[in-house]
Subunit: 145 residues, 2 copies
């Protein structure tokens, strides 16, 4: 696979994945992982999530925004995985909240779209690494529009 | 759920998971994630993996052994996740290699059990954190036998 084919496969993996694994750093710099629902994405350049403001995860990201997002497919062959490495932005403005708000969210955030426990996360990767048996390619994402 | 129930559910999640997500630290201290097949486990206290000596993952763990192992279930409810945090040991002795060696491994390691590209990883957690809707409990594993 050349880099263009790898980017196309990586994007296809993001598209079909409902769940992403999000890696962050604990207070002591140790790695942590949490499964999160992929709320939205824009190509390989931006991935959106939402979570509880009160979570340990948000406290970690406030202290150190370095993060990775990992997608994997092992239910069917070829097994493959994609790591995106970059930074997670914490957003609490109304437009970002409304962007991800859906019917049913009020079950988790009873005060509605401006509920203080509702936080939007926007992940911006600098690089990607795609793996599939026989292929392992790292590519740059820092110049993407 | 009390702590004993959480530990039992956590162990059941480990037992039924073929794949674990392994978190490690890049050279610059950033979080990385890789899906790995769980080769063996001993309760919640030890989880075994094998991988390629030549992989970036092994280079990372040689530099900084701090790691986490994450198991999650989202194909059926209740959705749940378990993070184990601790250290990953890199083992290359014959007994550890033979412990995990199976028929078919020679496809990946043609020189057999002592193939220099074959590395055994043993993860020893210090703590666990179990999540399930309505439950979030952290527990100590550093005193386990």
């Amino acid at each position: 696979m050349n880099e263009n084919e790898v980017r196309a496969s990586a994007l296809e993996l993001v598209e079909r994945s409902m769940i992403a694994m999000v890696g962050s750093l604990g207070e002591d710099g140790t790695p942590h992982i949490k499964a999160m629902i992929k709320a939205e994405y824009e190509g390989l350049r931006t991935i959106w999530f939402s979570t509880n403001t009160s979570s340990e995860h948000v406290a970690q990201l406030e202290k150190d925004s370095r993060a990775c997002v990992y997608f994997a497919e092992w239910a069917e062959e070829p097994w493959r995985g994609l790591t995106l490495g970059g930074r997670m932005e914490i957003l609490r403005d109304r437009a970002s909240r409304e962007r991800l708000w859906e019917n049913g969210c009020e079950k988790f955030y009873p005060k509605g779209v401006m509920d203080p426990d509702y936080t939007v996360l926007r992940f911006i990767p600098d690089w990607g690494k795609y793996w599939q048996f026989g292929t392992k390619i790292r590519f740059d994402l820092s110049q993407e529009e």
